[in-house]
């Protein structure tokens, strides 16, 4: 769906649209026929042209025509860009087969673009009898027209032998792309009670193209008089090898001559359902037809792209004078007989003097004399780069001519455009950079998407956006918690004494547990040493000085200064414990287990006392 260069197409389209401005669409429609008088056994072409100043125009509505059979025969489109304004014109071609003699009218044809409606006037066509020279042996008529007149006279068993279907081709071998005409003829010498239903044959390695109208007439075969209808189809082979036209079939209602038995138990049912117009249904089929598709001969030229037929080629420009930067419509027309639908655009040579934009093709198919042909036009938008006489060199077109079994090469005549100096506005159509020429196709909306899903990013975004908002409190809460933790750590670092004061009790209690364990283990010396250290650290934490700087006198002084509410008894307990611990710490021989246990008990009680005393408010 997304071809490379879409951005450039878009940019050019918008740039061009910018010139056009928001003008209202002017929709017009016109219709014309290639002649005003036609013989009843001939066809005429109706061309309906719809034009508008928007980049796309709607299809006309062809009314139901009672007096003509109509067949679509292609369309051709031309887009011109003049002074930045886009004008689109589409020609729809129809083949009309008259059904009645006399003055017949083609009714008004309408077109509607959603806001405007336009109509064509009625066209009168004189339908005449066929001229003597061109008249067929029998006047054409609808097969079913005979049915009503002589239906009662027919016999079913006889009828089946007198109805048959025959398929034949005008050739048995062909090249790929060469036209082969298939004729399916339905013969009957008995009346029919309803219109035959024709079923197209399935095709293998062939593509069909209708050849309207259905021919009808009468003929004599082996002394028997038959009415016939003929349906012709043009076939084009796709590739070398066998091709096959499988059986075509026709379902008809032949009259029934069943007699009524008055003693039949279903007599009344049969009697009531009996009618001359009714009969039994029979299907007739053709034999399968095989074709041999020959390969194209070797030695195809380099530029050959598969065109088979007999063609001419020409090149034209919508103007031969332009300003630099102004677009010129340059058209290459391939005309002749062959399957033009399969003809591709000829390769343009490298045009140094021009920027080459989009290729648009239009197809106008003709089926005169049961030969598929017409013309196909490829239109390029050329924008001259600079002033001067600029020449588009000959364009080469290769095709294979089946009748001569040879490859042909045709060239268009060179085309010279006189380019004048451009004004500032016209330069807006230039795009800088890029070796490949950008293409513009801004004439219609872009095609539908085959993406079933919005895409990963959009789907994920939808999933995230659909989540409730409360989960957002999680990261916010986490960030706030870490923020608080960070501030707390900073405060702790800034106020170490405060935290040592609060921590002293828990550390002392922890030490008491360890000392108890040491005593139980019989390690009295270590227990004394740990007890001494714990006591010193406790006082150090409470007084806010280092252990090494702490003496008994200084400790007492600091405790009195910081905690004036401490009682003399508590201070006395401190001194006593300190003295006792120093004695046992520095004289290990005095450290007996029982004495150490007493000191430990005393230490525990002293901590409890001090915790109360130190928290007491100042007097």
């Amino acid at each position: 769906m997304r071809a490379p260069g879409n951005g450039l197409k878009l940019a050019l389209a918008l740039a061009l649209a910018g010139f056009a401005g928001p003008a209202a669409a002017a929709l017009t429609i016109s219709a014309e026929t290639d002649r005003t008088s036609v013989e009843i056994n001939e066809n005429l072409y109706l061309t309906v042209q719809v034009a508008g100043d928007s980049s796309s125009v709607p299809e006309p509505k062809i009314p139901n025509m009672q007096n003509f059979n109509s067949y679509s025969s292609g369309r051709s489109q031309s887009i011109s860009i003049i002074n930045g304004k886009i004008t689109t014109s589409v020609s729809f071609t129809y083949i009309l087969s008259p059904r009645f003699l006399g003055i017949q009218k083609i009714p008004s044809i309408s077109v509607f673009n959603g806001t405007e409606k336009a109509f064509t006037p009625e066209i009168e066509i004189t339908v005449t009898r066929p001229s003597a020279a061109a008249a067929r042996p029998a006047a054409p008529r609808q097969l079913q027209g005979r049915g009503g007149r002589t239906a009662a006279a027919a016999a079913q068993n006889k009828a089946e032998g007198r109805i048959f279907l025959k398929a034949e081709t005008d050739k048995k071998t062909a090249y790929p792309g060469e036209q082969v005409n298939l004729s399916v003829k339905f013969y009957t010498s008995v009346p029919l009670t309803s219109n035959p239903q024709y079923m197209q044959p399935p095709l293998k390695n062939l593509i069909p193209e209708d050849l309207p109208p259905i021919r009808s007439g009468e003929t004599t075969l082996n002394g028997e008089h038959y009415a016939y209808s003929e349906i012709k189809t043009a076939l084009f082979a796709l590739s070398p090898g066998p091709a096959e036209i499988k059986p075509a079939s026709v379902v008809v209602q032949v009259p029934s001559n069943e007699t009524l038995d008055p003693f039949d138990p279903n007599f009344f049912q049969k009697f009531m359902s009996m009618s001359n117009a009714q009969g039994s249904s029979r299907e007739f089929a053709t034999e399968a037809v095989s074709l041999n598709i020959k390969p194209l001969p070797p030695g195809a030229p380099a530029g050959f792209s598969g065109a088979v037929g007999n063609y001419t080629v020409s090149a034209t420009a919508d103007r031969l004078e332009a300003k630099a930067g102004e677009p010129v419509n340059f058209s290459i027309t391939v005309a002749g007989s062959g399957n033009l639908k399969a003809v591709t655009a000829p390769q343009l040579p490298d045009l140094q003097d021009f920027k080459v934009f989009d290729t648009m093709s239009s197809l106008d198919i003709r089926k005169d004399g049961d030969i598929i042909g017409g013309k196909k036009t490829f239109t390029y938008i050329l924008v001259p780069r600079a002033a001067g006489r600029k020449t588009v060199p000959p364009i080469t077109f290769h095709f294979f001519e089946p009748r001569a079994a040879q490859y042909r090469e045709l060239q268009t005549a060179p085309l010279t455009i006189n380019v004048k100096k451009g004004d500032l506005d016209s330069k807006n159509v230039y795009f800088s950079g890029g070796a490949a020429a950008p293409k513009v196709t801004a004439s219609d909306i872009r095609y539908v998407s085959d993406e079933p899903r919005a895409g990963f990013i959009a789907d994920s975004a939808e999933g995230i956006a659909a989540l409730p908002l409360w989960p957002l409190t999680l990261p916010a809460g986490l960030m706030l918690a870490t923020f608080w933790l960070s501030r707390f750590n900073r405060f702790k670092s800034a106020n170490p004494l405060l935290f040592r004061f609060h921590r002293a009790k828990s550390q002392a209690n922890s030490a008491v547990e360890k000392i108890t364990a040491l005593l139980k283990a019989g390690d009295t010396g270590a227990a004394v040493a740990l007890l001494y250290d714990s006591f010193m650290y406790y006082l150090s934490d409470k007084c806010g000085v280092k252990v090494s700087a702490l003496t008994m006198k200084k400790a007492a002084q600091l405790i009195k200064e910081r905690f004036p509410a401490v009682t003399p008894r508590a201070m006395e307990e401190v001194r006593e414990l300190w003295t006792a611990l120093e004695l046992r710490h520095f004289s290990p021989s005095a450290a007996e287990p029982e004495g150490v246990r007493n000191l430990l008990k005393k230490y525990s009680l002293l901590i409890t006392l001090l915790e109360k005393e130190l928290r007491r408010p100042r007097p």
Binding site: R453, E462, I464, M479
Partner: protein, 248 residues
């Protein structure tokens, strides 16, 4: 926990594939064969199943455009554009349809590149992006606080600041998008255009008319039957039937 989070995020992705590609191809074949009404019916089912799928809206817009129903087509393209404003096809078709109704996607004087940047992400994508940035900013901030003083903590803090600024930028962008022509807007979808009345009822005088496909601002939608709509360019406001205007 990580798996649970992944499941939560991918659940809408899984649900988004509620219809298969074969079904879509069938609809596209109908479209290809000019059976636009039938294709539209299928696309509308997709839109009903997956309102956040821009392609459903886009394809339905295409079918409507082919049926010459320009107003509903503009509405569908506008919905698709809001869901996926980066896609060139959606942008092109919206612009094309707007041009058909005498409007332009690009405001006068606004550089195309700026307009593209302004609509680089859909509203939903901006919101999701802002949420992700918020998470990232908070987690990086937490890491910065935890690693306070360390070089990696400083890097985390810088990341937190940058992502927080980007998050604020997204919120600002989302706020700016509230002033876009497609925010709080509607499209006249009635064939032939809608009448604007001076009040919410048939007893009020018709004061203006708005053509089909016109983008309008929906100012008030409290009334059961009428929207109060504004035409900013013309400086006109009035009341239109809710059946004649579709909110984007």
């Amino acid at each position: 926990m990580t798996r649970l989070l992944l499941l939560l995020l991918l659940a809408p992705v899984t649900l988004a594939g509620a219809y298969d590609r074969g079904e879509l191809n069938e609809l596209n074949d109908l479209y290809k064969n000019d059976r636009f009404e039938e294709a539209l019916e299928g696309y509308n089912k997709i839109v009903a199943q997956e309102p956040a799928n821009p392609w459903g809206w886009y394809n339905a817009g295409n079918a409507l455009f082919r049926l010459n129903r320009t107003g509903p087509a503009v509405f569908h393209y506008a919905r698709a554009f809001r869901l996926n404003p980066r896609d060139p096809n959606i942008r092109f078709n919206l612009e094309f349809a707007l041009r058909q109704t005498g409007q332009a996607l690009l405001p006068d004087g606004m550089p195309r590149a700026l307009h593209y940047v302004y609509y680089l992400l859909s509203d939903m994508e901006i919101k999701a992006f802002a949420i992700c940035l918020f998470w990232l900013a908070c987690l990086a901030g937490a890491a910065g606080f935890l690693l306070d003083g360390a070089p990696s903590g400083a890097a985390a803090s810088r990341t937190a600041v940058i992502t927080a600024v980007m998050c604020l930028g997204c919120l600002g962008w989302l706020g700016a998008r509230q002033n876009s022509p497609f925010a709080g807007a509607g499209v006249i979808t009635k064939t032939g255009g809608a009448r604007l009345l001076s009040g919410p009822g048939e007893n009020f005088k018709a004061c203006a008319s708005a053509p089909e496909g016109l983008l309008v601002k929906v100012l008030d939608s409290i009334d059961d039957d009428y929207y109060e709509i504004g035409l900013p360019k013309e400086g006109v406001k009035g009341w239109a039937l809710k059946t004649e205007v579709e909110k984007i």
